[in-house]
Symmetry: C2
């Protein structure tokens, strides 16, 4: 429920006793929206508190700084994306179907959650070093899951890939770039985009070049 | 020389009489670097003036606002990218070779000029509407050049593409996302990346799905 809330910004039906947690969550949602609108450097803690309908003093009960909120959003966001990806590839199937499932899921996640995704992809460089480290660790795991499927396909002979590392990068990159433009006038359905990109990823691992 | 200067930030060997133009250029380079480091919203005109070693008052002789500088950078950047792309595809060759040349050039441009590219790709939303319009026009032209080559290949039967519009988007997207991460520890040569991506784009238009 915590996760759903910061991702979607929709109020969960929560008991009154959960009011403090909700205030912390409201702040995360406000931070997410402020960072997406004005960038991390263009956002003040005052903006975030105002977005959550709180005073700066009330905000500091929950978060010591906007850095702490960026860190929390980055870690939750990457964690959610990673778990979703793990579930997607956890199937009894050959590498071709597993790669399609992975790319479908990864693209869908970024398109669906494009507001939070924009922040966690583009504001990453503003994380303090000790905060960056655990986030980078989740990013490496995400890369490894997809690279693992590509390598498996090369091993079984299902895929013909020139450079595994660059191909994996290109597959992830295509999906991540979604957060720059999604939704557009001609493409606003995460599922349609995910289906297209999953078919395109299949092409990237096929062929002879 | 004007273009080279704001792209690279290197001082051209210019006669003393060009000193006023150079001040304007120095400001563009300072704006480019400040936007890349802190985002448009996180940058003040004072930051830009300081970056160019000028007073805010001296800056206003050249640019009325940071919006004007973002507009100028966006227009010059997109223009340079578009002209480079046009030259790349201007050859007597079939669609396969022309697409490879287009993707090589487009990827190389973004990797080589990743600092200015980051600003013109990610800060686009901060352009005022009347400034956005001419920039969007150049973006449409860039898209059209690549889509034109894809369509030509479909017509000649060289390419087998499911959805021309989404495939074109994916090809451009892959290259544009370069500005998010380039250079990385494992990839820091624009030419190597451009060669990889040009081969991958070839796969995206081949095959049967």
């Amino acid at each position: 429920m915590l996760r759903e809330y910061w991702l979607t910004g929709l109020h969960p039906d929560s008991p009154a006793s959960a009011i403090e947690t909700n205030a912390a969550n409201r702040l995360l949602v406000a931070a997410r929206d402020a960072f997406a609108a004005n960038g991390y450097k263009g956002t003040t803690t005052r903006d975030i508190a105002a977005g959550a309908g709180m005073s700066p003093a009330a905000m500091y009960i929950h978060y010591a700084s906007k850095q702490e909120m960026l860190f929390k959003l980055s870690l939750l966001g990457h964690g959610s994306c990673y778990e979703s990806l793990l579930q997607a590839v956890d199937m009894e199937a050959g590498p071709r179907r597993r790669l399609r499932a992975a790319v479908y899921d990864f693209t869908y996640w970024h398109a669906k959650h494009h507001v939070i995704s924009r922040t966690i992809q583009y504001e990453l460089k503003y994380l303090d070093e000790e905060n960056y480290r655990p986030v980078a660790e989740v990013r490496r795991k995400i890369h490894s899951v997809v690279e693992g499927v590509v390598l498996e396909g090369v091993r079984t002979g299902d895929f013909a890939v020139g450079d595994v590392s660059t191909t994996t990068l290109a597959i992830l990159s295509m999906a991540i770039d979604t957060v720059r433009w999604f939704p557009s006038r001609s493409m606003s359905d995460p599922a349609t985009l995910a289906a297209h990109y999953s078919a395109l990823a299949d092409r990237l691992v096929s062929g002879q070049s």
